[in-house]
Symmetry: C2
Subunit: 165 residues, 2 copies
DNA sequence: GTTATTGCAAATGATTTGCACAAGG
DNA sequence: CCTTGTGCAAATCATTTGCAATAAC
């Protein structure tokens, strides 16, 4: 787990006068030991597969806490549920590309995009705080070669695929 | 109401073998007689203020229909509920700037932004279908002059203001 | 007549909350 | 101790759905 996250969380815990509990630690550990996106229930499942025990309510409460602390971001992948992204501490300005074919989410950074959006906001008379860019796109692999590894593995894993619009 | 919308809706209705009902017509009319964003309940309230009668279920069903038809877009304003935007027929490529101070949503278009995002997707090996950009920003008026008309009117109207993060 | 549509009320599903008990500091 | 944290089950809230009645075509 990124020491930076550890430090910021500790600070937050201190400042709020919160306590150190095994459940919360296990949940935080589970979240930041991977760069996977997740929703509340997926996280709860992950926790249950470990030796640690924690209720669904505590999972929700911990997520809320981390979002408040700015360590976890709520993102919208367009699938009618809240998805959480643990990677904003490491890359505070990343964007998302969601594959329409297989649901795979690719994170990317682009200084030009960032700057251009920034300018747009200023032109409108605002000071930008946060920008969210999501690109939904089709896989060229699939188009050109008729197959795409991501799609195949998504099907095998039984992931819920994005609804075509 | 934009004749273009009328035409596309008519086509969709035809193609799907749907019927022409007064409830649906009233809801569609209410949606596209304004460029306001709304959520399901706000729309239901609007309908109830007119002489036409319609159940909440029908409102939901009509929204679903229009989203399927591509006439209405679901957007994420970050306030934990689905918001709908009726303006994508007129400006298919607009972006949103949300004021953190007063919640006002400004729609804007920018060909450069559009193009740059497009390139980013292609570089990653995808063919972009749809891009969603939301910029959250603070009002310079408020910062410089200590007041902003939007904020004042939002408070008067009792709008739910965005949560500060 | 058929089949889509509506309204109602009940069901759903994700998330939140009240409360009694447990456990950090 | 005192207060925060937890687990459970119940509550909430937006949305969806089953069904019987209604209305397009």
């Amino acid at each position: 787990m990124d020491p930076n996250i550890e430090k910021r969380l500790h600070q937050f815990i201190q400042a709020k006068g919160l306590r150190n509990t095994s459940q919360r630690n296990a949940i935080v550990e589970s979240i930041f030991s991977s760069d996977e996106h997740f929703n509340a229930d997926e996280l709860w499942d992950r926790i249950r597969k470990t030796q640690s025990r924690s209720s669904r309510a505590t999972v929700y409460r911990t997520i809320t806490l981390l979002v408040e602390a700015g360590l976890l971001h709520e993102i919208d992948l367009g699938d009618d549920q809240k998805t959480y992204d643990p990677n904003f501490v490491e890359s505070p300005a990343h964007n998302h590309l969601v594959c329409i074919d297989c649901g795979k989410v690719i994170e990317f950074e682009d200084a030009h995009i960032q700057l251009m959006n920034d300018c747009a906001a200023r032109r409108l008379g605002f000071r930008p705080e946060r920008q969210t860019l999501k690109i939904e796109a089709c896989c060229e692999q699939l188009r050109l070669h008729g197959r795409c590894e991501n799609l195949i593995s998504a099907r095998i894993q039984g992931k819920r695929l994005p609804k075509q619009r």
